[in-house]
Every structure is written in structure tokens, then in C-alpha cells.
């Protein structure tokens, strides 16, 4: 089996300037082709920049947008993952990633988990995707796409692996923060992502590709540190922090087969158990079934008994 050559592009997009970013993508695609890459991975919102706010509608592209089509047309003989703002036919805006192969769009993933806390405000400006699915690829393995926050939720890598992905790809615009010296690489964000990606690779016995942008949007510095992790959790490639560039490494799919046979976690996975428990939990949270962990006397869907129904209310009434 031929090794797979993967190029990770740590791009610094120009905020809101689609034309300039298309040009950056084209140049890096050509460079990756030159380097013999089978797969080229660009970061989240690489075609638009991250901190868009009300620019969201101005940079949004339908899948038939000529600028997108021209870029997709340049993927003859290779696969590319590209991040952009997708506008649906009914004018919803999504943070999206497409997989283009041999000049056609094979798959579009819309970010399911929009970050909306701390420095993030994505749900104000974007709709949330509702599908997590793996897709067959010309690379000969199933591919699963996630976008940044999607991989802060355990369900996404697990669903992708169960659905047949052997290559989990997360594209990110991760803002660097917490420069405390105790953190790995001096950056709290890097510590977290490195830990998670190794865990996902091992727990799903899959290759994990993480591509994070670099550069500055407003106050935010994006930290790069893109990686390829083997199903064993071993690091195949670790790109430098903050540097713009294209980083190439090879993966051997025989390693994945070996790992899955030696450590048959996926074979032994029990999705039907998960599904039944999730159905129960969802019903309990919706108040449609009694909640085993709720206080006695709690209303359906609530964990705590209402104070109004308890002794506190009656003693208050006596005063």
C-alpha cells in the first residue's frame, strides 16, 4: 500500500478579503502538488478570515460560487479540504469545510458546535450544522471532517469513526491564549489540543489531522501548531507555532490496520447501547421520562425540587 502524503497549510488569511485568500489557497495548492501531496488541508475559514462579525454575509459563498468552483477545479489528481462561509439556498450562513477531489466537491461539513463563550460569538453570526458523517474518498479511506469546536465534543470524533472514517480531519481557527509557563509549549490552547488529538487518535484508532491557522485578526493571535497523529497516539508531524507555511508528512495506512486489529476498540464499540442510553437521557432532559438522578419531588425535566413546593415556602408564608 502506497503511503499517503498529506500537506498541512498554516495559512494567515486576510480578514474579509476573499479574492486575496483564494489567491493564497491557489498558491499553496500548487506548492502542495509540487511536493507530491495526495491531500492538502487548509484551515477553518481560510477563504475569509475568522473574526468576521457583520462581514459574514459579505464573504458568504454558495457552493456554485465561481470563485469556489475555480478553486475546486484545481484539485485534479488530489484531495483538498477548504474552509469558507457557506450560504445555503435559503440564505442561512454556515461555517463550512468542503472536501474537493479531482475537481468536484465530494462533501460539505457545516460546523455543528458553534463556539459561543469567552472570546467566541459564533452563534450570533452563523447557523449550526446538523450532520456528522464520514465520506468515502479517492484516498482509499473514509474521511471525517470537523471544524474546531466540533472536536471539543466527544461525540463528533466518535460518530465519524463509527461511520467509517479512518482519517479524522479537524480544521481550526484556534485563538492562542494563556501564555503561562506551566503550559506545554507555553500556551494553554496548545496543551489542550495536543491532549485531545492524541486521545481521539487512540480512542478511535484513526489518523487525526489538525490544521490551525496563523496570523492576527484584531486582538487574536492564531497559534498554528498543526499536527498529524497516528492511531497509536504517536506524533507523525508537528508544525511550528505561529509560523506560516506548508508542512508535509506521509502516513502509512497499514499502521492503521495493524492498530485496529491489535486494539479492536471500534470492533467492540456498542453504538446500540449508546443510542438507547442517549434516548433515555434525552427523554429525561426533556421532562418526558422520570429522571433517576433528580431530587425527589422535582418537576419533570428539572433536577431540583422547586423551593415553592418545599418546606422553605411554607415557613416563609408563616412569617
Amino acid at each position: 500500500m502506497q503511503p499517503l502524503r498529506i500537506a498541512l497549510v498554516q495559512l494567515a488569511p486576510r480578514l474579509g478579503d476573499v479574492e486575496a485568500n483564494v489567491a493564497l489557497h491557489r498558491a499553496r495548492l500548487a506548492e502542495a502538488r509540487e511536493a507530491g501531496a495526495d491531500l492538502v488541508v487548509f484551515p477553518e475559514l481560510g477563504l475569509t478570515g475568522y473574526l468576521l462579525q457583520d462581514l459574514n454575509a459579505e464573504v458568504a459563498m454558495r457552493l456554485d460560487d465561481p470563485r469556489l468552483a475555480a478553486l475546486v477545479a484545481e484539485t485534479a489528481g488530489l484531495s483538498a479540504v477548504i474552509g469558507f462561509v457557506e450560504e445555503s439556498a435559503d440564505h442561512r450562513l454556515f461555517i463550512a469545510a468542503l472536501l474537493a477531489e479531482d475537481g468536484v466537491v465530494r462533501h460539505v461539513h457545516r460546523k455543528v458546535f458553534l463556539a459561543n463563550y469567552g472570546l467566541f460569538d459564533e452563534r450570533r453570526f452563523f447557523g449550526a450544522g446538523a450532520q456528522v458523517r464520514a465520506v468515502a474518498s479517492r484516498l482509499g479511506v473514509g474521511v471525517g471532517l470537523g471544524i474546531c469546536e466540533d472536536f471539543w465534543h466527544l461525540s463528533v470524533p466518535q460518530l465519524l469513526a463509527l461511520d467509517g472514517a479512518q482519517l479524522l480531519i479537524n480544521i481550526s481557527s484556534s485563538p492562542g491564549r494563556d501564555v503561562a509557563a506551566v503550559n506545554e509549549a507555553g500556551l494553554g490552547t496548545a496543551s489542550s489540543w495536543r491532549t485531545m488529538m492524541r486521545a481521539y487518535a487512540q480512542l478511535t484508532t484513526s489518523f487525526v489531522v489538525f490544521v490551525n491557522r496563523v496570523g492576527i485578526d484584531e486582538s487574536i493571535s492564531f497559534w498554528g501548531g498543526s499536527e498529524i497523529i497516528a492511531p497509536s497516539g504517536a506524533t507523525i508531524l508537528q508544525a511550528p507555532l505561529f509560523d506560516e507555511g506548508l508542512y508535509v508528512a506521509e502516513i502509512d495506512l497499514a499502521d492503521l490496520r495493524r492498530e485496529r486489529i491489535a486494539l479492536p476498540l471500534l470492533r467492540d464499540e456498542r453504538p446500540e447501547v449508546t443510542l438507547r442510553q442517549l434516548e433515555r437521557i434525552v427523554r429525561e432532559r426533556a421532562g418526558e421520562a422520570p429522571d433517576a438522578t433528580a431530587e425527589p419531588g422535582a418537576e419533570p425535566g428539572f433536577d431540583l425540587a422547586s423551593p415553592a413546593a418545599g418546606p422553605t415556602a411554607s415557613s416563609a408564608a408563616e412569617r
Binding site: R14, G16, L51, Q53, D54, V179, V182, S221
Partner: protein, 304 residues
């Protein structure tokens, strides 16, 4: 001071990776300039550690020839401050301007100090009664006005030099020393500024000396505010960065009086950290529901 050992107290939780902080700050400066369509910077160099550090970062980001350091002393400013500022200029090899602000400030309040002709200023006789706080605020705003004038003359952006400690507790003059196009060290506490300054090679005398706004002779930040930076930085770190409640802060060893004093200062200074509110009347209001990044296609200054 002949005592060897650390130049300052450094609580463990405030230790930063200076290589990463330096990289972020330098790339941030370059990014801000590129997005705005500028190539040069101007800053007010006081002789203190904050502006010295920013000068070092700016020189690294754009080269010393593209950094103009403005020395803006008032006649009561300590001569040692000016000497320290000059040592930074000499070490970096950047262009500098020395502009005395005394005539500007005195033209408003009048000159009432001993040994100076007692003249009434533009404000009238009342000017002589102005408190040190008022005078200090005007000095800060006169310096700001000069920096913005120099920025136009020099085709440069004004780079900010305020740190996180002073922004949080409000030890800063709104539209004075906190006015800038962008600030590369505004998320570093004073004790972290010292670490980065040490890593950048800022002269040790500047790192070791007692921080001072230098608005009157002998003034020091710590005497004026009433606590040491190492202590207030630790408290702010647990309060702001680590979201600890008052009870949890007490359990960490902080005392009630300090906690209440500092949280009160932080709350009272909120207005200094935000854009002033606009009365909403229309369907789309700047800063409320018209939200754009500061820099986007078309917003960079046209070349030439």
C-alpha cells in the same frame, strides 16, 4: 542597590513563557500595521518599564528606524527618567524627539511652582489651585495630543504602552496615556511586563526601579495606590483570569479589605476600558448592532 538576587518578586502563577509572549506581541504589531496600511510607529517613552518594553518589541517588529520615541518630560519629571529613556533610545538606535510639555501645561494652569514666574494661565487664577490629579491628567492628555500630532507628521501609528494591572484598577488617564491605535502589552500584568522586559534585554536599572507615573517628585505607583504589584497582580489574576469568588479569594489568603478595595477599583474603572455608549435610536447603531472588525478590505490607508 547592591543586593543580588531577583530584580522583583514573581508569584508562581504569573510566570509566563516569554518566548511565546514575545512572538505574539511582535507578530501582533506587524499585523496591526499591515492591516492599517502603515509602516511606522510612534510611542511616548517615559523612562519606565512599560514604554521601554514596548519600544523593544516595536523595534523588533519593524526595525528601529521605523520607530519614533518621543520623550515628553514636564519640568518636575525626574532627570533619572529622562536618562533611562535616553538609554533605551541609545540601545535601540531609533530616532527620538525630546519635547518639553511644560509650556503647554503651564499655559493652561499657570506656573505656580517656586522659582518659576507666577503667571496666570488660560484657566485663570483657579488654575493655580488645580490638584496634582488634575495636573497629572492634563499632562497625560497633552502627551497624547503630541503623540497623535507626531503620528500624522511621521506617518505612524501610536502604539500603546499600558499594562493589564493599571487598566484593570484604573490607574490610567482615559484619553491620555491609555490612548493608542493598538496595545501589544495590555494583557500582561506588571509582574509579567517585568519578565518579558528581562527576556528582551531592557536595561536592568529600568526593570529594578520603583514604578512611577512621575507626575510629581518622589511619586511611586505602589505608594500612591497602596499595594505592591506582586500582590495586586496575584489578586487580579485569581479574580479576573481564574474567576474566583470573594470567599475563594479569602481561602487563597487575600484579606477582605484588599479584596474589596481592588474589586471596587476594577468596577469603578470599567468606563475607562470601553467605548462610550451611544443612545440607540436608529435600526442599526455603531457599536451595538453594526459590528465590524476595525480593519477590513478598504479600511487600510491608501498607499502614497
Amino acid at each position: 542597590m547592591s543586593a543580588p538576587g531577583p530584580a522583583y518578586e514573581l508569584p508562581a502563577e504569573l510566570v509566563i513563557d516569554t518566548a511565546v509572549a514575545r512572538r505574539i506581541a511582535v507578530d501582533f504589531i506587524r499585523g496591526q500595521l499591515r492591516q492599517a496600511g502603515f509602516e511606522r510607529l510612534v510611542l511616548g517613552l517615559s523612562g519606565g518599564i512599560d514604554s521601554a518594553l514596548v519600544a523593544y518589541l516595536a523595534a523588533e517588529a519593524v526595525g528601529p528606524q521605523r520607530l519614533l520615541c518621543a520623550l515628553l518630560p514636564y519640568r518636575t519629571s525626574a532627570p533619572a527618567s529622562r536618562a533611562d529613556a535616553e538609554s533605551v533610545v541609545a540601545a535601540l538606535g531609533c530616532p527620538s524627539r525630546l519635547i518639553e510639555i511644560s509650556p503647554l501645561v503651564d499655559a493652561y494652569y499657570g506656573a505656580s511652582e517656586a522659582g518659576v514666574a507666577a503667571e496666570v494661565g488660560a484657566l485663570g487664577p483657579e488654575g493655580r489651585e488645580a490638584t496634582p490629579r488634575r495636573r497629572g491628567n492634563l499632562m497625560a492628555r497633552v502627551r497624547m495630543a503630541i503623540l497623535y500630532d507626531l503620528s500624522a507628521a511621521w506617518n505612524a501609528l501610536v502604539v500603546g504602552t499600558g499594562n493589564k494591572t493599571e487598566a484593570l484598577i484604573g490607574y490610567t488617564t482615559i484619553y491620555g496615556d491609555n490612548a493608542c491605535a493598538f496595545n501589544p502589552i495590555g494583557d500582561l500584568y506588571k509582574t509579567q511586563v517585568r519578565q518579558l522586559a528581562e527576556a528582551m534585554g531592557v536595561p536592568e536599572g529600568i526593570i529594578r526601579k520603583a514604578p512611577s507615573a512621575d507626575l510629581w517628585p518622589g511619586q511611586t505607583d505602589e505608594a500612591e495606590v497602596g499595594f505592591e504589584y506582586a500582590d495586586v497582580d496575584r489578586l487580579l489574576f485569581w479574580l479576573v483570569d481564574r474567576r474566583r469568588s470573594e470567599d475563594e479569594l479569602l481561602a487563597l489568603g487575600f484579606d477582605t479589605v484588599t479584596i474589596e478595595r481592588v474589586t471596587g477599583m476594577v468596577a469603578a474603572a470599567e468606563f475607562k476600558r470601553q467605548v462610550p455608549p451611544v443612545a440607540k435610536m436608529s435600526s442599526r447603531t455603531t457599536g451595538v448592532d453594526y459590528l465590524y472588525p476595525r480593519r477590513r478590505p478598504g479600511s487600510a490607508r491608501p498607499p502614497g
